[in-house]
Amino acid sequence: MAGRREKLDIIKDILEAIRDKGGKIKPTHLLYKSNLSHDSMKRYVQELVEKDMVQEIEEKKENKKYVITDKGLKFLTDYRQIKEFTDSFGF
């Protein structure tokens, strides 16, 4: 069984899920992809919106979507560097 994900990994998983869907995703799809409870997902997405990594848009009425921003994409690049750095030194 995989170990408990760290906050950094959860944020990466959320951003990757949005990016892999062409940069835009429905909340229901994100809930399924991120493997989180509804409340946890809302909390994390809210934090990402506050940090300008994700934007919330409404294309039609009752059709909310999350969009990854440039800052969110930059985080994914930095994440890979940090992960590689951490794994290299094992801490």
Partner: protein, 221 residues
């Protein structure tokens, strides 16, 4: 006695350059870790950054001082500092603090009592010490040996190319200490030690380049 200057006379200029080169490499690694800290806000990255920054400071200090001594610039200051072996003592303390911090981070020691004990021992070893050169290299050898073993364990766990390079780099730094200790038999052994150290730091620089420019690209071991 000027403890900063060791090895054959002809090697002293090169030794100063190596010191400054090691200072630059360790500073770059400290900078990457600091960047990781700014992004993640996780304290372990800031501690890692501090330990490499301490190494950088130690090498910069001795490197610059060796330049003063070998070029006879600022002779008065050099004589005064060397009279009390201040530069070597500072180098010793900074390197010990850096290695112990690295051990604490890589071994994931969280017990504050153990951390306090380790730092107290290091301070005592440095402040109440004689035969500085011998003690410095024996303790450095021990600390680097444990660090190498930890990086080897990490390599076995992760099976990543960079993890292997980090282990080899620290293994070379550990071997270098043996040659530094053996200079009582032949001064040329100091040069061998310095070259092993150079190889070790070149490998660490290569890891830095891999992380910064190719971070995330999968490579086989």
């Amino acid at each position: 006695m000027i403890l900063v200057l060791n090895g054959p006379y002809w090697f002293r200029g090169f030794d100063a350059i190596l010191g400054i080169l090691f200072a630059l490499i360790t500073f770059l690694i400290a900078a990457v870790s600091y960047k990781a800290y700014k992004i993640t806000e996780e304290k372990k990255y800031s501690y890692f950054s501090v330990s490499f920054f301490l190494m950088s400071l130690a090498f910069f200090l001795t490197g610059i001082f060796e330049v003063f001594l070998t070029t006879h610039v600022w002779d008065l200051l050099s004589q005064w500092l060397s009279q009390f072996d201040l530069v070597f003592l500072a180098h010793m303390l900074l390197i010990f603090l850096a290695y112990v911090s690295l051990l604490i981070i890589t071994l994931k020691i969280t017990d504050r009592k153990v951390i306090a004990l380790l730092f107290s021992l290091i301070l005592l070893f440095t402040l109440f010490s004689y035969q500085y050169y011998l003690k410095f290299h024996i303790i450095s050898f021990l600390l680097l040996f444990f660090l190498s073993y930890q990086f080897y364990t990490n390599y076995l766990e992760k099976k990543q190319f960079n993890a292997k390079l980090v282990f080899i780099a620290f293994y070379l730094l550990t071997c270098a200490e043996v040659f530094f200790l053996a200079i009582m038999y032949d001064q040329v052994l100091y040069v061998v030690g310095a070259l092993l150290q150079l190889l070790g730091y070149i490998l660490l620089f290569y890891v830095f380049v891999q992380v910064v420019y190719h971070g995330g690209t999968k490579r086989k071991t």
